[in-house]
Subunit: 235 residues, 2 copies
DNA sequence: TTTTTGCATCAAGGATCCTTGAAGCGGGGT
DNA sequence: ACCCCGCTTCAAGGATCCTTGATGCAAAAA
């Protein structure tokens, strides 16, 4: 099941210099992109209000205001990829734009081939977004992306092994996990019989997860079998 | 946008002892589960051939063969959640079943409330599967799940910081990432000006990524700006 | 050419983490 | 009552990793 982009991509070119703007329009149109044009910030803003393009080519040296501000406004609402055009020497502005989330840059003069390659790369990337992976169990939250764990709101710091262990638990809430399963998952095939190292880590994990007053217990021991993560019951 | 299970869940009960099987059927039916029954391995296999249930309740002490073998056969094709029933003392078999991928277990005699809780938990879990997150760039592969990186097939070992750094790169292939962006992403807000630590890590990462003969280069330097990950060109 | 600037690389002190040993605790069985 | 077994907890040696300083290098600027 693949979702393919069928319609042609729409590119908005924001550039005050006519020869360059024309070059961009011709080059992009020749490769089946649909092109809109704006020659200053004002036109760009009204164009964006009408329709948000698939990609923005933005010159940073506009007559009626800084392209940086335009980029900042755009980024507050849209994740549209942006490729920045700049003249040599405007390093400061260029880097500021990239830090603001611009996707790429080209320094004038640039080759059309390079421009087209950058456009393709930016459009390709913008298609692949990833679902935010966040596991929860009670007031425990585990963020796979950032490798952060928060308990009742504030972050707690885990060692790499503790994090993997907790990840295995949270993917299998309320389920018994045998010693071998946990050892295999976190330490690998070679450790399936080393139950001591597992016990030490469960101990350390509990110390960090359970409330200071020891009134909650997320990890339940299944004697002779393994462990199980479940909602803590106020002992 | 939520996908909710509307139809009733289908449970297959595999149990030779009539009183227990009857108890299970009555209890589950009373809670709107659709129940099928099998009193030995043979019946279970033919039932599975007809229709794969949403959950399997499996007694391990069957007259015509080991429930373990049934479980092993099932696991070769389906990820159907399985809750195992066992008598006290059959620890060995029970743990074997769990290691094979059984989801939970109940030791006879068990309370019906506990059974129903375990059934709910197992069905809830089976609904949440996660997309395998695997990023690639040329013959570089990064597995978000297992935190493994392979280069042309064989694994290479990265330190935690190196892994985060490469992850940032692979999520933004062909895109320039400024020093500040990378430092913020990997080290956090407080490090955005410490470009030295970034350079050292990029250096170490390159040493591990590039082929021994130094003929490939994944990470391209953008002088004054930052770095960019792209397909290596045979220098 | 000389100087400067930014990047690459090496090395070491210090911090963190992992493994393993040893001791304490408690329930079940004899 | 005693012992045995599994689980918990503490502690330390050793391994790994991270940061920082020092040095080398190359390209651009003066």
């Amino acid at each position: 099941m693949i979702t393919e982009r069928v319609r042609t991509a729409h590119v908005l070119v924001v550039e005050d210099d006519w020869p360059i703007r024309h070059l961009l329009k011709v080059s992009l149109s020749a490769h089946d992109y649909e092109v809109s044009e704006a020659e200053n910030c004002k036109e760009a803003i009204s164009s964006l209000a009408k329709q948000v393009p698939d990609l923005l080519l933005l010159d940073l040296g506009l007559p009626d205001g800084s392209g940086i501000d335009l980029l900042r406004r755009l980024r507050q609402e849209h994740a549209t990829p942006v490729i920045v055009l700049s003249v040599q020497g405007a390093e400061r502005t260029k880097i500021e734009a990239l830090d603001l989330g611009a996707d790429d840059y080209l320094t004038k003069p640039f080759s059309v081939d390079e421009l087209l390659a950058r456009v393709r790369a930016a459009l390709r990337r913008s298609k692949s977004l990833h679902a935010p992976t966040l596991l929860t169990c009670g007031d425990l939250e585990l963020d796979l992306e950032r490798r952060h764990v928060t308990l009742a709101g504030h972050e707690i710091s885990l060692t790499p092994n503790e994090f993997s262990l907790l990840m295995a638990f949270m993917r299998n809430q309320d389920r018994v996990l045998t010693h071998r399963q946990l050892l295999k998952e976190v330490w690998g095939e070679g450790y399936v019989d080393d139950s001591h190292v597992l016990r030490v880590n469960v101990c350390n994990l509990r110390r960090k997860l359970n409330s200071p007053d020891g009134k909650r217990n997320y990890i339940k021991t299944e004697p002779g079998v393994g462990y199980r993560l479940c909602l803590p019951r106020p002992a």
